[in-house]
């Protein structure tokens, strides 16, 4: 059942937080590819590795799940992959069931379910070092005997036992031991009947489908109506086997001393100190993004200017030189300058994830989330939204409650993503000076977006239809030293995605914007006259009546229209349009500060800056997000209502802020 190039397909199965992905990385190294399962938006992670005997193995990292009775679309993929129900996906030749040795009792149920499906299984006892520290005594040989499959002890984090694991994946692969329990006569009779019916309907692996259908009353296969009420009996039978295996193969110490996690959680989950730490931590993250990115941003800006001067020095005047310097370098460079901030943001998010603190933040936030009808489960998708709305929306699949998931998707774009950061960072210094004040302003922007999102959820949730109160259950992994390799990998993936976007979408849009800004040509040499004659000038004039009440000029209006393709383009668009101005200012910010209205008054006043920022906090200017919302909600209605609603809200909010500011006497 393997692909032409590899000799076997091996699937990784396990609970979330078992170290499945760490093991996947340790086995496959750099030979990984990420795609999607056909027909569903669940990420498929696969890679290759060679056994010590030189056999090529394809390894698939299936989504983490607590059981094969799914609570979310991700978990359903794991079940379907093991049953061979995914079209275009091969049934695994071997399943590596990753178990957390420190919590073996909780993990054996999934192993038992996989065995019941008749899959060949190799059990991987991960985190054995942690189990030893906790004083647990595990006997892998006894467990192997009880379950009739090999148990390999490893420590994925420390790369211990990975070679032994590779050696264990040898040909011929282990045989499937099958079900190791005998049910009541009623169960056995029903299973036989179901199996026969499924075989008659030409369903492959009828025995596996029959046990799955009987264990999960919600599972549908063929034209089968499985009797209900036996699932409870099957589940009890499985727990009996597990309990017996634990009694034989695992010894726990009677009293475990207070661990570092216990001591840290005493403070970090404290009703007062927990919140104090969380607030200080979040503020520090935003302050650091400003403070530590300053120097590398200066380098990138200097490099951009030097490149423009260097290329300009040997090119003759003309449209081609203008395209290279004012179009491509100004446009792409204007966005690239934010690479250090994006790296820092992802560094902090990965650091919090890797240290185990992120789940604590979800626990703390559950109280607030509950007040607006959501649960702590919505916190992680919302937090991912600060990086990028798309993975955030995809992460909502872990929310079991459908209404809560929809409400989270609808409000998620108001958690400011990194694409907005270039705009904020450009505009904030026009409003306030000093690193502390700028950090506080950035924190305030993020807080405003979040608060509005939560209030909207409160208004929206009851209108989405009646639903049961969200039930909250969350595993809090032990704190551990952050894994530098994981952090670097995350940062690299995001930074390279940003660079790729800058080199493709933003480069293309910069060229189009330059074209619209340069043509048609006017007879005058005056850049202001030329700008007015260009396509952009005309578009800007046409929309000026709409954006003028926000305090914006036509160039900002054009930039705003362009930014609906990608928000970062706002900065590129301004960079391109101001690059043609008379002032020979070095940076875009200096050009903006120096720009004036027709009456000679300053254009970018703090009030105008605030109006721009308010618009950007609330507008949904990202077509890929709309496409993902449509896919995840399976409805154009919600996707378009979100796009229209957020744009209108953004316009009205910016209008109210600017006009109120004027009434209060600000300029």
């Amino acid at each position: 059942m393997s692909t032409q190039s590899s000799e076997a397909c091996v699937a990784l199965v396990g609970h979330p937080n078992t170290g499945k992905t760490t093991l996947f990385n340790a086995l496959t190294g750099q030979n990984q590819k990420i795609g999607n399962y056909t027909g569903v938006t669940v990420e498929k992670r696969s890679g290759d590795f060679f056994t010590p005997h030189g056999k090529k193995i394809e390894l698939v990292d299936l989504p983490g799940c607590y059981s094969l009775i799914p609570n979310s679309p991700d978990e359903a993929v794991t079940r379907d992959a093991l049953l061979g129900d995914l079209s275009e996906e091969e049934t695994p030749d071997l399943v590596l069931c990753v178990l957390d040795a420190a919590n073996l009792e909780r993990h054996l149920y999934l192993l038992q379910q996989v065995l019941d499906l008749g899959c060949p299984v190799l059990a991987v006892l991960n985190k054995v070092d942690l189990a030893e520290q906790m004083g647990l005594r595990i006997d892998p040989a006894q467990l192997s005997k009880d379950f009739d499959i090999p148990f390999i002890a490893i420590s994925g984090n420390k790369q211990r036992g990975v070679t032994q694991l590779k050696q264990a994946i040898r040909f011929p692969l282990p045989q499937a031991p099958g079900r190791c329990w005998q049910g009541s006569p009623e169960i056995e009779k029903t299973l036989k009947h179901l199996e026969k019916t499924l075989a008659e309907q030409n369903i492959p692996r009828p025995a596996a489908h029959a046990i799955q259908a009987l264990s999960d009353p919600t599972y549908e296969v063929g034209n089968l109506t499985a009797p209900t009420g036996l699932d409870e009996q099957i589940s009890k039978k499985r727990f009996e086997i597990i309990q017996a295996a634990i009694d034989n193969g695992v010894r726990r110490p009677d009293q475990s001393p207070l661990s570092l996690t216990d001591k840290l959680d005493h403070w970090l989950l404290h009703p007062f100190w927990g919140w104090a730490f969380f607030s200080v931590l979040m503020f520090t993250v935003f302050w650091s993004i400003f403070r530590f990115a300053e120097t590398p941003m200066g380098w990138i800006e200097s490099l951009q200017t030097a490149t423009q001067n260097w290329i300009g020095s040997f090119m003759s005047e003309g449209d081609f030189k203008s395209l290279i310097i004012d179009g491509i370098i100004a446009g792409v460079g204007g966005v690239l300058v934010f690479l250090p901030q994006i790296i820092l943001l992802f560094f902090f998010i990965s650091l919090l994830e890797s240290s185990g603190y992120m789940a604590r933040a979800a626990y703390l936030m559950d109280g607030i989330m509950n007040k607006v009808g959501l649960s702590g489960k919505s916190f992680l998708p919302l937090l991912s939204g600060y990086a990028c709305a798309i993975p955030g929306i995809m992460a909502t699949r872990t929310i079991p409650n459908a209404k809560e998931r929809l409400a989270t998707i609808l409000i998620l774009p108001w958690t400011s993503c990194t694409a907005r950061l270039p705009v904020y960072v450009l505009i904030i210094p026009l409003m306030v000076t000093g690193t502390f004040a700028q950090g506080a302003a950035l924190f305030g922007i993020y807080a405003l977006g979040t608060i509005t999102a939560l209030l909207t959820a409160k208004i929206l949730k009851p209108r989405l239809g009646a639903a049961e109160a969200p039930q909250f259950i969350l595993e809090l992994p032990p704190y551990h030293r952050p894994q530098i390799s994981y952090i670097l990998k995350q940062v690299w993936e995001r930074a390279s995605a940003f660079l790729k976007k800058a080199g493709t979408v933003i480069l293309g849009l910069s060229i189009i914007l330059w074209f619209l800004d340069t043509y048609p040509k006017s007879d005058s040499d005056d850049p202001v006259v030329q700008q007015a004659a260009s396509f952009n000038g005309k578009i800007g004039k046409a929309i000026e009546p709409i954006v003028a009440p926000l305090g914006w000029d036509s160039r900002m209006g054009t930039a705003m229209i362009a930014s609906f393709a990608a928000r970062e383009v706002f900065r590129s668009s301004l960079a391109i349009s101001y690059a043609t101005d008379e002032e020979e200012e070095e940076t875009l910010r200096a050009q903006l500060t120096a720009s004036t209205r027709k009456d000679g008054s300053m254009l970018y006043t703090p009030l105008v800056g605030l109006s721009i920022i308010i618009f950007f906090i609330y507008a949904l200017q990202c077509l890929p997000t709309t496409a993902v919302v449509r896919r995840e909600t399976n409805s154009w209605k919600w996707a378009l209502a979100q796009l229209g609603g957020m744009t209108l809200f953004a316009y009205l909010a910016a209008l109210i802020v600017y006009q109120t500011g004027l009434l209060l006497g600000f300029t």
Binding site: N103, R106, R252, Q471, E475, L476
Partner: protein
């Protein structure tokens, strides 16, 4: 254990949300709409559970894992002192 003995024991059992903080318990019964989900995550009969905090979302450890669960879920877990 006979069903009468189990019934008597259950009469004296508490829900996990009623149980005292800082003490260790043994799970006697998991009953309610979310019982399957609770069992799958580790709250099975016979397991030992230590309750760490009270509140709307309580913290507990089961087999060395820390879990946070809401009160309505904790109400579905019947425990006796270990």
């Amino acid at each position: 254990m006979s069903s009468l003995a189990l019934d008597l024991e259950l009469d004296s059992a508490l829900t996990l949300s009623q149980a005292a903080m800082g003490c260790e318990f043994q799970i006697r019964q998991v009953e309610g709409p979310a019982c399957r989900q609770l069992r799958e995550i580790g709250f099975c009969e016979q397991m030992r559970v230590k309750k760490l905090t009270n509140g709307r979302n309580m913290l507990c450890t089961i087999c060395g894992t820390r879990l946070a669960l809401s009160k309505d879920l904790a109400d579905q877990i019947m425990v006796i002192p270990a």
